[in-house]
Amino acid sequence: MRLAILTHLLTILLLAPLTASAAPGDALTIPAAVQIQPAELAAMLKAGDTPPILQVGFSVMYQQAHIPNSQYAGPGNKDDGLLNLKSHADLLPRDKLVVIYCGCCPWEKCPNIAAAYKQLIGMGFTKVRVLYLASNFGADWVDKGYPVTRGG
């Protein structure tokens, strides 16, 4: 039991430098009011009312499947990923709706989404919505039958 606790603590210590830019758990600081549920976004897509959508997670995930017409703009946990996000966001009007999502891992553990959200707010975006994916993109979007584009 003691060994298990020690192992766990050591792992957390080792993990710290791996997630330097945005600590996991930051997603919990994203206000509920700016979150958008998968069903709501899927309904918008179905109605043809598609806002710019940016995937701020990891490219291996994006290459497998992503929301149609979404752009890869990550990863949010790295400085170069945030630069990638900035270059995409710079092309968008600050006062219009933009949706970001990740879904790499459970919401409360996501290393990308909070950093990406903060970046857009810092750039002056006033209508950022964050897709709430409780478990991951596979379980909460693909497995629900919402539209996806396969391949990079």
């Binding site: 792992t11 497998q64 990863p75 891992c105 391949g151």
Partner: protein, 170 residues
Amino acid sequence: MSRVLVTTLALLLALAANAPAKTPIKLKLGDVAPQFVRGDLQGHPFDLKAQRGRIVLIDFWASWCPPCIVAIPHLSQLQKKYGARGFQVVGVSMDDSANTTKETMKKIRFNYPVVLGDAKLGNLYGGVLGLPQQFLIGADGKILAIRSGAFEPTALDKGIAAALKKIGPS
């Protein structure tokens, strides 16, 4: 004649390149685990087929995935505990680059092979669109369990022990 053939081939290649990617087949319990051969990051070849007769745990993980990192020492312990009885863990890193994985491997000790995954391997396993994700494979190569989300070492330990019981004495 040869010009017609070349033109036809070029057309077919262009069509194939523009064809939408296939929807991966969702794996379920009892399916044969899709075959793969990859060089591991420790410098050895890893062939899943060569593991037939053993119980294999395929652990899809990434350096950026906190629950995956937490699981690694537990997986190493399970490898140590059951390895001699015919159990093998293989880690499939879904990092965007091998260098990222290698950096992690300098910080955390792995006592099992780690191969670099990609979208192709992810799709082969039904689409690995969230981590962590694990597949427990029986001695006959069929999938015994599929796990995702929070890592549960006790449940996994029990599953491995039960599978090993079927292939030999403890």
